[in-house]
């Protein structure tokens, strides 16, 4: 019940902040353009790196999305107001994490056509790619929501969130890049499965651990 209320609240907040989400998408698209300048106009090399670039763009944009999602909670301490109602801290965490997950998935999906156009990446299995994007976005939003809750209340928050989050999500980045690149370039060895399993394990562990720890983060 509380979870429904929390998801409802966060989706409403994100809908009202959609201008911000569009700006973040433009940021991601711009970084995709910039990455190709590092490689040069070599179609073959660009295709080889397409998977890495889309995930780097998503990773960089995710810190903006996550930080933004706590902006409105902290301006007037609305999160504290909800906790005093009392709202269940765990429901607040999962509501926020789910909403961030949805937004990051959307952002990832929106970046795919750009990758196809810019890097000439073939897309044989759109459904599989959607699944990988969803799993990877969940890996970013799970721990990211926990850390954004902390860093949004600190000085130097713009620096701290990526500093804390990036090392943590290295497995997400590796697994998602590998899996996406197998989807784009073909998977002769059948390795896709193990990378998917790795992503699922990461998501399961972090969504449960972070959910357990979140109430300590907002309560003390």
């Amino acid at each position: 019940m509380q979870l429904v209320a929390a998801v409802h609240k966060d989706l409403l907040l994100q809908w009202r902040g959609r201008a911000q989400a569009i700006a973040i998408f433009v940021f991601g698209a711009t970084s995709l353009l910039l990455f190709s300048f590092a490689i040069g106009p070599n179609a073959e090399a660009l295709r080889q790196h397409a998977a890495g670039f889309i995930w780097l763009a998503l990773l960089l944009s995710s810190t903006l999305t996550l930080a933004e999602s706590f902006q409105s909670e902290m301006e007037e301490h609305a999160l504290e107001g909800l906790l005093l109602l009392p709202a269940d801290a765990r429901a607040l965490y999962y509501g926020k994490a789910l909403a961030n997950w949805a937004q990051l998935t959307l952002l990832g999906v929106a970046l795919v056509p750009l990758t196809v156009v810019l890097y000439d990446a073939p897309l044989p299995r759109a459904g599989g790619l959607l699944g990988i994007i969803m799993l990877g976005a969940a890996g970013l939003s799970g721990p990211g929501t926990l850390y954004a809750a902390m860093t949004s209340q600190t000085r130097a928050q713009q620096t701290l969130l990526p500093l804390l989050l990036f090392p943590l999500v290295v497995p997400v980045l590796l697994a998602s890049v590998k899996a996406t690149s197998l989807l784009i370039l073909g998977d002769p060895m059948g390795q896709l499965r193990s990378w998917t399993i790795l992503l699922v394990c990461f998501d399961a562990i972090h969504w449960s651990v972070c959910g357990l720890l979140f109430d300590r983060v907002v309560e003390d």
């Binding site: 409802h8 609240k9 907040l13 007037e76 609305a78």
Partner: protein, 203 residues
């Protein structure tokens, strides 16, 4: 009524009693419930008007109330919540976002949010701040109604006369310490202060 100079610990006291912050040491009881051990039960009984207004700037006034209502498992429909907004004089601004509100209007919206949960202890941190004279009367009216309903009201205020008329008991804080305690009517004359916190009703 609680009063005391700026920085004397009035807000801190109220925030501790509302379980918004945990005391470094010691604890206290609200209606017999321990602040540390029974936090959730305390929260179910206490409503706090904080100097943070607990509002989302990007949502409308009505939506702000609807969100709180959903968490409280109350009817979040427009029909159920409009009376609350009317009560604080914001009925015609229900669909505007508080970002365009004046400080006094934000305070009124925050008051409406305090009215939402069925609280038996109401903590008001400077309820008169930023309000106009009709707003003053609104707070007086709300306090009187809470008292009629049997709720305990504890307000932190600098308006000694107003609080003195409204409240039963008063305490004065200075640097976190209790320096005076007595009937609210006498606080202005006796405590030698321009800033009391008023304890109202029997807590």
């Amino acid at each position: 009524m609680v009063t005391g100079r700026n920085g004397s610990g009035k807000s801190t006291l109220l925030r501790i009693l509302a379980t918004a912050i945990r005391p470094h040491r010691g604890t206290a009881r609200v209606e017999g419930l321990d602040l540390r051990g029974q936090t959730r039960d305390v929260r179910r009984r206490v409503a706090l008007l904080s100097h943070h207004h607990y509002l989302y700037d990007s949502l409308t006034a009505l939506e702000n109330l609807q969100i709180a209502a959903r968490f409280l498992n109350r009817d979040p429909s427009r029909k159920a919540l409009l009376p609350l907004l009317a009560e604080v004089g914001l009925a015609d601004r229900a669909d505007d976002a508080p970002v365009g509100f004046s400080a006094g209007m934000r305070k009124r919206l925050a008051l409406a949010r305090v009215l939402l949960p069925p609280a038996s202890v109401v903590l008001l941190d400077e309820p008169y701040g930023q309000l106009d004279p009709p707003g003053f009367r609104l707070v007086d009216r709300l306090v009187a109604r809470w008292r009629e309903q049997g709720a305990t009201v504890l307000m932190a205020t600098h308006l000694l006369e107003r609080g003195g008329d409204l409240c039963d008991g008063a305490i004065v804080l200075d640097e976190g310490r209790l320096t005076w305690e007595g009937p609210a009517r006498e606080v202005a004359a006796q405590s030698g202060l321009a800033a009391p916190v008023l304890v109202e009703g029997g807590a």
